[in-house]
């Protein structure tokens, strides 16, 4: 099967993630969408790695997972602290600062 299809899938996932970020309110969900985008990137990396026949892409994928994990840690920390302060995880509630 043509590996290119995996690229299309990756692009699709990425777009889904991006749109999710744009339309979902709950900070956690938004964050999960970002993770989805990162994983779409991983898929693309692995596919390209397969096509080019070198390992860089796969290695990068591992790096990406680590970074994603770190983001989760930091992100959740912030989101949870906000949630505790406001008893709401809606990104739209966090709009004290505007204009």
């Amino acid at each position: 099967m043509n590996p290119v299809n995996y690229l299309y899938l990756a692009a699709l996932l990425f777009t889904i993630g991006a749109v999710g970020v744009l339309i979902r309110r709950n900070a956690i969900v938004v964050f999960m969408c970002v993770e989805l985008m990162l994983n779409a990137c991983n898929l693309a990396f692995v596919t390209f790695s397969r096509m080019h026949g070198n390992l860089d892409g796969q290695v990068i994928a591992f790096f990406t997972m680590v970074v994603a994990a770190a983001e989760v840690v930091v992100g959740l920390a912030i989101i949870v602290s906000v949630f505790r302060a406001r008893h709401s995880a809606s990104v739209d509630d966090a709009s004290l600062m505007k204009l």
Binding site: V34, A77, A94, L96
Partner: protein, 549 residues
């Protein structure tokens, strides 16, 4: 064939480990980064094991020491000729050690040093329950206004974690402009972004806004880095490698590494162009260029002011360094594709920043928009695509970062009951109350406005000159117009400070400790020196303006 290749890789991996050649790392040339990174780790240990009372001092001492040492290392390397003759790519092609890298790292370190001083300032707020307090929350984890927080304040807790966080961020920033492959670029980006997200969240006053700023910054930052990453993936797909050198060679066609299968499915350069655009977006986000700027005002306003100053200065320097390297090293072959795009971005950034700033009422937001406008000016220099363009941008970054930190440091001084009085109306008649502070701030504003005899003018002239030389005369005109618009709101603040009567309930100006004083003095000194006799630093920037390939 590819499947075979992969299989062979597996088999080679089955060989005894000692066959794998150890990577060759030039530790001396990476020393600046390593020092800061090491210091960061140590200061984590300090957080873990040093008793609370001693933490503050040990952390400050450690950070300052690390930064000074790192800067010394930079100077040593530069003196050793790594900036010019011996410039080369270290760490198996991951990190470039060359003029721009060293210059920018030096700038970042100096900026961070003075920024750390403002972090450590503990005299602005009156002592709370007999404990000196700085700009950071007693216990960031505690819910604002909760019993827990009150207890923490009573106990005199302070968030000394900001120092290790800052150090991590700095180390990431040091790598960012030096990164010589896209993976390192991405990792460095995350390494300095994540700590910044946290730093934004730990303000002492107005904690809700602080946390909100953190959330916005985090979500949008993650969003943008996802784009960056996907862009990297596409570029990798195009060139089969993430190393700048290789990509550059593929782009200018000296080697055609493109998998034929890709070539015909993806069509000629779509991968390259889309990938480039997405990477660019990631960098423009950090720079705060329109339309990727919208996080800037909110974050700048919400974050603790010292952090804001640190971000505004150091992040910009690092991001522009990375952008320059990307455009000049990776994609010189693509100049005719990216220039028009960047033209557009530069124009909307200059005008957008200047115009929206006019109607701002909060000093920190005002400075945020001004930083956006300045990003536009810098982009004009970047677009020049000439050595003088590089050097002018380097010079501008150096000049600008000190003005910014100085300005935000002054903002920390003007306080009322609710902490910093950042609403412009509160600044009325400041010139009557404390002429000195007002005068200093006026100097910074004039520098922002690019009035002659300040560093702002030298920098602006340098980039505009480069742009005009590079055939971007129209950009210069737009730049001139937008600086005319920008002048208006800088002047407005000066009018407010000097020509309007002080309000009865106006803010007081806190008398800072030597730390902040040093920061501000340094800012003023650099502003005036670069304004009156910039030649030496221009030479420096010029020498440092050649990228290693």
């Amino acid at each position: 064939m590819s499947s075979m290749a992969v299989h062979s890789l597996w088999t080679t991996a089955a060989e005894p480990l000692d066959k794998i050649p150890a990577p060759h790392i030039e530790y001396t040339q990476l020393s600046p980064v390593l020092i800061v990174l090491g210091a960061a780790l140590v200061s984590v240990l300090v957080e873990a094991f040093v008793p609370r009372k001693a933490r503050y001092h040990s952390q400050v001492f450690l950070s300052v020491l690390a930064l000074v040492a790192a800067f010394a290392a930079i100077v040593g390397l530069a003196a050793g000729g790594y900036g010019s003759t011996k410039a080369h790519i270290a760490a198996m092609g991951a990190i470039a050690v060359d003029g721009p890298a060293l210059f920018l790292q030096g700038t970042i370190l100096l900026a961070s040093l003075v920024a750390v001083f403002t972090f450590a300032e503990r005299r602005l707020d009156p002592a709370d329950h007999g404990h000196k307090v700085d700009s950071f929350a007693a216990e960031a984890a505690a819910v604002p206004g909760s019993e827990q927080e009150r207890a923490a304040v009573k106990a005199g807790f302070t968030t000394t974690e900001v120092f290790p966080l800052a150090l991590f961020a700095i180390s990431g920033m040091l790598v960012f402009p030096a990164a010589n492959d896209l993976l390192t670029l991405f990792v460095a980006l995350e390494v300095f972004s994540l700590p910044l997200y946290l730093l934004c969240a730990v303000a002492r006053r107005k904690r809700l806004m602080s946390q909100e700023a953190a959330v916005k910054y985090f979500l949008l930052g993650a969003f943008s880095s996802a784009f960056l990453l996907f862009g990297i993936a596409l570029l990798y797909g195009y060139a089969g490698s993430v190393s700048y050198a290789t990509i550059a060679r593929v782009v200018d066609g000296s080697i055609g590494a493109v998998d034929p299968a890709l070539a015909d499915t993806m069509g000629n350069d779509a991968l390259l162009l889309i990938g480039f655009a997405m990477v660019l977006m990631g960098l423009l986000f950090k720079i705060g260029a329109v339309p990727f700027h919208m996080w800037t005002p909110d974050v700048y306003q919400g974050a603790p002011t010292p952090v804001t100053g640190f971000m505004a200065a150091a992040t910009k320097v690092a991001a522009f360094g990375a952008l320059l390297r990307l455009l000049y090293v990776v994609l010189p072959g693509l100049t005719w594709d990216w220039r028009p795009v960047m033209w557009g971005v530069a124009i909307v950034t200059m005008l957008g920043g200047a115009i929206v700033a006019i109607t701002q009422t909060d000093i920190k937001r005002l400075l945020a928009y001004s930083s956006i406008a300045h990003a536009g000016f810098l982009l004009a220099g970047v677009i020049a695509a000439t050595p003088s363009g590089i050097s002018s941008v380097l010079f501008y970054l150096g000049a600008y970062s000190f003005v910014t930190i100085g300005a935000f440091a002054v903002v920390t001084l003007v306080r009322d009951a609710g902490g910093e009085a950042t609403h412009l109306s509160k600044w009325a008649g400041l010139g009557r109350r404390s002429p000195l502070v007002a005068a200093v701030f006026a100097v910074f504003l004039l520098a922002f406005a690019g009035i002659p005899l300040t560093s702002g003018f030298s920098g602006k002239f340098a980039v505009f000159k480069a742009a005009a030389d590079g055939g971007a005369g129209a950009l210069v005109v737009v730049g001139v117009i937008s600086s005319a618009i920008a002048a208006f709101f800088y002047i407005r603040v000066i009018v407010l400070m000097f020509f309007s009567e002080p309000k009865a309930d106006g803010p007081t100006v806190a008398v800072p400790s030597p730390l902040t004083s040093i920061t501000i003095t340094a800012g003023v000194a650099v502003t005036l020196v670069l304004g009156l006799a910039p030649q030496y630093f221009l030479d420096l920037a010029t020498q440092a303006s050649t990228f290693v390939r």
